[in-house]
Symmetry: C2
Subunit: 148 residues, 2 copies
């Protein structure tokens, strides 16, 4: 049985939803947790996750064929989305298209928590090569922003 | 080109997103608006909408084959989900399974705004028959809650 109602029992903690590691420890990310709110069993072909990046933390700089729809619901931060650095505040809507580079960073003094929708069937993320990093760093704003 | 960044320019108003009627005026709903945040062009097979129900208002009591994932992000209220009346507060996660009856009501003194994910391809909602209403009203909590 899929629960029809998952209460947020504390801020950003849901009844019956486990707080997981973002991904394996590989040095590409910092202070990120993951919670899976919905998945294949919900019959939409998509999964909705809640990620929380602690103050000063960041997700992995990566890209992939599948898309992301991201909506912050806690705190704030900044993101690289394809070739733009954008500020993030609650309820902004970010779309990461296929093969667009992306990285999410929390502000230094507050967390960044966001909903992220993906298709259930999806490819694995790819990390930037030295050549990719050279291209990204040709833009000084991106060079100053990214963490690898 | 699909925007990669839609700023929430005022609370619950997004850059370039139109505020639409919830559906045709048929007497089954009250004080509801609809905004489409993402759709087929985002490549996930789902659409994410933001609905806002004004104080004292309600959505249509209906059901359908497709599912809903609903996450309130403004105010609060109450919902019928299948056969339960549940309180709604920000970030609760509601799942409406196939053919589950559902209706969302705002509190009398505040709006209820929620994100709602659906598949892009979906069937049309069905309204309750007199017989359906008889079954629903056999539960006194549901009888007191629903608006038709």
């Amino acid at each position: 049985m899929i629960p029809t109602y998952r209460k947020q029992v504390q801020p950003f903690v849901w009844d019956g939803v486990e707080v997981l590691a973002y991904k394996e420890q590989d040095g590409t990310h910092r202070a990120v947790t993951r919670q899976v709110l919905t998945g294949a069993e919900h019959g939409q072909g998509t999964s909705l996750r809640y990620f929380e990046v602690g103050p000063g933390g960041h997700t992995t700089l990566e890209r992939h064929e599948h898309t992301h729809v991201v909506i912050p619901i806690r705190g704030g931060g900044t993101a690289l989305v394809v070739d733009r650095i954008v500020p993030l505040a609650a309820h902004d809507v970010v779309f990461v298209p296929s093969w667009g580079w992306h990285q999410f960073r929390a502000a230094d003094d507050e967390p960044l928590g966001f909903l992220c929708a993906v298709t259930v069937e999806r490819d694995r993320p790819v990390l930037p090569t030295a050549q990719d990093l050279g291209v990204l760093r040709a833009d000084p704003h991106i060079a100053a922003f990214i963490r690898v």
